[in-house]
Amino acid sequence: MLLLAWNTFRERWQVFAGAILTVCLGVALVQSSLLALVAAATAPIPAGLAPEAALALQGAYDGALTLLSMVLALAAFVAVFIVASTFGFTVAQRRRELALLRLTGASRGQVRSLLTGEAVLLGLAGSVLGIALGLPLARFQTWLLVRLDFAPAGFAAPWRPWVVAVSLGTGVLIAVLGVLAASRRAAAIRPQEALREDAGAAQVMTVSRWVLGLVFTAGAVVLFVLFPAGDAAMPVWFVQLTPFLVTVPLVVGFAALAPLIVPLAAGLLGLVCRGALGELALANLRSDARRSAATAAPVMVLFAFTAGIGGTLATVGEAGRQELHATVDGDFAVAADRDATAAIAGIDGVAAVSAETEAMFELAFAEAGASWYVAGLGTVVDPDAYVATHDIAPVAGDLADLSGASVAVSPSEDYERDWRVGDTLRMRLGGEEFDVRVAALLPPTVAGPHYLLSPDLLPEGAASWNHVVRLADGADRDAVAASLNEIGTVSTVDGWIAASAAADERLTRDIMIVLLGMTMLYTAIAIVNAVVIAASNRRREFAAARVTGLGRGQVVWLAFLESQAVVAIGLVLGALAAAGSVLGAAVALRHLVGITAVSVQWSLLVGLAVGAAVIVGATSLVTALSATRTPPIRLVASRE
């Protein structure tokens, strides 16, 4: 069996090269993310650092850790998804060969072990390459993290010997898992299929496809419905996880159901596609729904994740912007290096001014004998001034009580802690540890602040202040602005909110680069791969079309049309999966903070769609050209 596996491998190396490539890139991606994750988790905090600096460093590492665990999860998911779909597809293309083996006396178990043997070989080869490729990739990934400020300067992910074992194991495991379902299907191939001239994929929608597709789609729907209706004390940051809760299961479900959706979509496209070639292209799509689905799947993943994660983050950002607009009741924002309340209040025409500065602190928790600290970012404000310039009503307690050692907290920060007014928290701030009282509970918030600190908690040396200034009725805006200009950097509140929204967008973009950049590059390669593998089996079919009277150009154009239709299907499914996540986030936000906002990054998505269409179109043009180079009659006449 191993000999046969090895021989098949040698014979079909073009197809298998694609499979090896997917394993290799997947392993490299997972390994690199894992190394970076471990490095972030074990990063030492140098002794002798000021408490504030140490806290900031730890915070940076914690942030990198969170981001990297998502990168790792996404990389692992995409690797398994792509490898499974590639392998499943190659098995589907070899139906006839496998049926022949059954006919010559192979048992179902032998077909399974043949495919598993192949998967082990492919997994090993891919992993070895992946381990090597993972090294420069890890360096690039840490460089990117530092470059985009997600990790402190000097962050490095050193090579660890055990990662070889993990990567080898991962690669082989992914390959074997990927082939598992396919080999079960292959073992079910009936021997007489070898006798048929046209031994195409007989039954596309297998029971397992139905089950997988329906279970995951239903699961996504249930999560979508339950998500916003859940515990109202759910923290706002949790909303950002909707892509993982809704888009991921939808992607799996759609991928499984895709052979069912493809003919439907082909029917719809038939309304626009006219002419003999258009009809033939759609007929091809329908008749080989499995192939169409296999090519559409990576397009869908690419689009679903980019649109889903990007859209969700952008929607949260948009909700934050609207919340700021609703909350901040002022005309100007003044940035200064000191608390300039007194000076600003003295200007003619200023009705109210509130100064705020940020302070990092830690809260001590103890439970069941264990104790730990959780870092937080608080805003130090004078409660009276703050209320005068912000439309904010505490859920419980009174902001006027925010004096001495006290804080106001928003439940949106952490859902596990059921804080009440009057509770005592243990706080570490500026190198000291003391008790603070919860003076008020703030409503859930997207944009923050999540903690308001009493002015008496102001740490020494705060050097970055922002002032919100509200003008009196009938005040001369320009005159006030001119006076404010002598105190600090002035911007209108609208401009200030826009700037903070822009900063937010930049952060979203950076997060997406780190989170999706390499994974999506991987998916793009997988798309090319799928197109090449699909075309490798179509030489005879193309030849038959040419013998029927199509010119070479027409056959190539046909392949191109098909590829564009497949991209369209992938994009629509991906958009649906992404819409589930973005809408889920929007509904959850509306439930939490009462703001209805949806934001879609149209330019990014249009660019992505065009990019996918170009990649798939160009690949299918090239493969169709090369597949039609031989005069058709030789291919039609030749057997085997």
Binding site: M1, L3, L4, N7, T8, R10, E11, R12, E97, L100, L101, R102, L103, T104, G105, A106, S107, R108, Q110, R190, P191, Q192, A194, L195, E197, R639, E640
Partner: protein, 245 residues
């Protein structure tokens, strides 16, 4: 062993219906036939007469709707997949119109494959002997695409013969070959029957191929309508023309 051994393949009252009530098609209709050991039977008939269905049912590739099929004394009517796999390894050989060799393996490896699948260590000498018997001793290391159509078909026959099966099923074995190559393959099959006593069942369209067999069975609308023993090509062609008229 003086009394005649049981026929390697025996069909009793075999009916095969495709589709359900409204659109049901009787591909085989109460077929009784035994294929005696050491004989070569050709199955002929117009398109859609049930030739292929007969072959598939006799080989255990398709289940019969009613009736029973016995191969080498085993009733396979309700046999499990494992049982059928065992039969395919030991009692049944196949040759097809489209050779169906495994492209990645050499002639030798293709021939040895059924033995390997059965978990037996193929004796090099056995494999060589079979390849020599089909006249390809010098092409052992060639891959299918390096062989002509006739040579590929001979490799396929060698592969089918290597397990010394009780019966060889051939589905249009000359259908894809030119006249000369077809004649060679038919000679080879004749020799296998005469020298090795290889029971052979062949479906064909070609009167010349059928005339190489010991007897010809004619099918029409799923029923056996006629038989000829040791016919000439001309007789077969005439009978076939009558059948199609």
């Amino acid at each position: 062993m003086n009394e005649s051994p049981p026929a390697p393949v025996e069909l009793a009252g075999v009916t095969r219906v495709y589709g359900s009530r409204g659109t049901a098609v009787r591909a085989l209709d109460d077929v009784h036939i035994a294929f005696p050991a050491g004989s070569w039977t050709a199955v002929m008939g117009p398109s859609g007469s049930g030739k292929s269905t007969l072959l598939h049912c006799a080989a255990g590739l398709e289940r019969v709707t009613s009736g029973s099929v016995r191969i080498a004394g085993n009733d396979i009517t309700g046999a499990s997949d494992a049982e059928l796999t065992r039969l395919r390894r030991t009692e049944i050989g196949f040759a097809f119109q489209t050779f169906n060799l495994i492209g990645s393996l050499t002639a030798e490896q293709n021939v040895a494959m059924p033995l390997r699948l059965a978990g037996r260590r193929p004796e090099r000498a056995d494999v060589h002997e079979v390849l020599a018997a089909v006249g390809l001793a010098d092409r052992r290391r060639h891959r299918p695409r390096e062989l002509s159509g006739g040579q590929q078909q001979r490799v396929a026959i060698a592969r089918a013969m290597v397990t010394r099966p009780a019966v060889l099923f051939a589905d249009e074995p000359t259908g894809a070959l030119d006249t000369k190559a077809a004649r060679d393959v038919l000679h080879l099959m004749r020799r296998m029957v005469d020298e090795r006593g290889q029971t052979t069942i062949m479906v064909t369209h070609d009167p010349a191929a059928a005339a190489s067999a010991d007897r010809v069975v004619f099918l029409r609308d799923g029923r056996i309508t006629d038989r000829l023993d040791r016919p000439s090509t001309r007789e077969v062609a005439a009978r076939l023309a009558d059948l199609e008229a």
